[in-house]
């Protein structure tokens, strides 16, 4: 509008963008509920969002933005089907479609609760166990997160055309597999929600592992996972693991600034500058945990969050309550067969009982076929050997791990540790 500066206009666009991102899954859910065609609904909602993003900054936001978007998307759906039908059979609309005069009736019956429900059902749909994990991730980011194909492609470092194909095939799979748009049966609910949590956790991990060159995109991805986890927690406030996942993300993301050095190098927990941790995020995560743990249905995400909280509340590695962490890993190992959990448990054991205790655990773990020759086993063993004073063993271990890792920053870190030890003692 006249007299408005550039920063104000940018801010208004940013607010409208944020609103559209939040409404997108609710609108998509509503349209799928009516038309039952995931792929076509997704296209139609995309078109409606594009129109809104173009018109609302100048023309103003409608009084009921969600209803507006649903109306426009529904109209697009009808147009699309009409064009398809005309192309194929040159006949009038079939009865299964909503008659044109009823189009305007779509939307207003959505109240906030129903809209939230639709977003939740959409999340369940995109994370259905019938879909492969990469498919679920791409679909969730697209349909629930509202990210563009280009944004998702950049986040996963593939060409846009490749990601477009994947999303297109994912939408096809949903249609073909008959994944329904409805609440999971009560006996399935826990498993289905678990699948959603798993997908969100993977998105967060991808984003949290910010590599140097693509840091910007990757940060957006973990931020996106956080936003979706927050949305989910709001939709199922009674679910303790959803709360646990949100807490875990908050407590982990709080450390992000301290994790990476100026050259993009990885800084492990015990060397991080804790003054760079986000105190507000830590406070929020801790408060959420304190409200959730007493409810009693403690699961792996809550436990991982509790471990993160113990770390985040300590002012240094030395001041960390390692016995508590060791106990928490003990509980976590009862619930999770993941060998990485056992590895971390070994580190905690070393911090409490000394390196020999940790090394003894690693000897046991080395029998696990999943860990044989795994670089992380070598890396952790090298750390403990270093603490135990076996410098030659540590150097060999770091080098072995460096040769086998497929992560560039991790390889640099391991080689550097080996080099540091190989230098004369006064140079270390």
């Amino acid at each position: 509008m006249s007299g408005e500066g550039e920063p104000e206009e940018r801010e208004r666009r940013a607010r409208i963008d944020a609103m559209l991102r939040e409404l997108a899954p609710q609108v998509l859910g509503a349209v799928i509920r009516r038309f039952r065609d995931f792929a076509a609904s997704e296209d139609a909602v995309q078109e409606a969002l594009i129109v809104a993003a173009a018109r609302w900054p100048q023309g103003g936001v409608p009084e009921d933005p969600r209803a507006w978007l649903i109306r426009v998307a529904a109209r697009r759906m009808v147009d699309h089907v009409r064009a398809e039908t005309a192309r194929r059979r040159r006949e009038e609309l079939v009865v299964s479609l909503v008659p044109p005069e009823e189009q305007l009736a779509l939307g207003p019956d959505d109240d906030a609760a129903k809209a939230g429900d639709d977003a939740l059902l959409l999340l369940f749909m995109c994370c259905h166990p019938a879909l492969s994990t990469p498919t679920a991730i791409a679909l969730t980011l697209r349909a629930v997160g509202g990210l563009t194909t280009a944004e998702i492609a950049r986040a996963f470092l593939v060409p846009e055309a490749t990601m477009a194909q994947r999303i297109s095939r994912a939408k096809q799979t949903i249609g073909d597999s008959g994944v329904p748009f409805e609440r999971p049966a009560p006996e399935d609910a826990a498993r289905r929600l678990g699948a959603v949590l798993h997908v969100l956790y993977l998105i967060f991990s991808e984003g949290y592992a910010a590599s140097s060159g693509e840091r910007l995109q990757r940060t957006d991805l973990s931020g996106e996972a956080l936003r979706l986890a927050r949305m989910l927690h709001g939709l199922v406030p009674e679910d303790t693991e959803a709360a646990g996942l949100l807490a875990l993300m908050l407590l982990t993301d709080a450390r992000r600034a301290a994790r990476t050095g100026p050259d993009g190098e990885l800084i492990p927990l015990d060397e991080q500058d804790r003054s760079r941790w986000e105190r507000a995020a830590i406070a929020e995560g801790v408060a959420l945990l304190e409200a959730t743990l007493p409810r009693g249905a403690v699961g792996p995400y809550q436990l991982q969050a509790a471990i993160a909280a113990v770390h985040d509340e300590a002012s240094s590695t030395a001041e960390t309550d390692w016995p508590q962490i060791l106990a928490l890993y003990g509980l976590l190992q009862k619930m999770s067969d993941n060998p990485m959990v056992a590895l971390n448990g070994a580190v905690a054991a070393a911090m409490v009982h000394g390196p020999a205790a940790g090394l003894a655990r690693l000897d046991e773990l080395a029998k696990d076929p999943r860990l044989v020759e795994h670089h992380r086993l070598d890396a952790v063993r090298a750390h403990l050997l270093e603490r135990a004073g076996d410098i030659d063993g540590a150097i060999a271990g770091y080098r072995r791990a460096a040769a086998r890792t497929t992560s560039l920053p991790e390889r640099s870190y391991l080689l550097e540790r080996a080099a540091r030890l190989g230098a004369a003692p006064h140079e270390r």
């Binding site: 996963f156 990601m163 194909q165 095939r169 590599s211 497929t406 992560s407 560039l408």
Partner: protein, 131 residues
């Protein structure tokens, strides 16, 4: 996970393909086009390039003053990269399966070439479990 699939060719002269009968050349090229197109359609293709023949390759070293010294005309024994694909797949097994398809590209007389395709994982950012 991203893997690079590398197709090598013996060095020295131009690509052997240049000496094949025309229809065999066409069949080979058509195969490669179709192969790449299918990888695109499956959402697995990240990059694919063919490189100019080994007879056009140069080895470059820095001279004492930092300026490039180029060296050409190589002994027969050396192998050169003819082309590569980078694919983003869910498992190493899938990468090997794709490489096997490339390996079976047709050569002279329409017989599968069964070339050895080198497959190596492309290094990535920090691992998931670093969290």
């Amino acid at each position: 996970m991203k893997y690079m699939l590398m197709m090598n060719t013996p060095g020295g002269g131009p690509y052997q393909i240049a000496s094949w009968p025309t229809q065999d050349i066409r069949a080979h090229i058509a195969f490669m086009k179709d192969f790449a197109q299918k990888l695109g359609a499956s959402g697995e293709l990240v990059a694919a390039e063919g490189l100019a023949g080994p007879d056009q390759a140069k080895l470059v070293r820095a001279g004492k003053d930092g300026r490039p010294i180029t060296d050409g005309v190589f002994p027969e024994a050396k192998e050169f990269l003819a082309g590569y694909w980078i694919v983003d797949v869910e498992s190493a097994e899938r990468a090997y399966a794709i490489a096997a398809q490339a390996s079976a590209a047709p050569g002279p007389g329409s017989a599968p070439l069964n070339m050895a395709i080198e497959v190596r994982q492309v290094m990535s950012g920090p691992p998931e479990d670093w969290v």
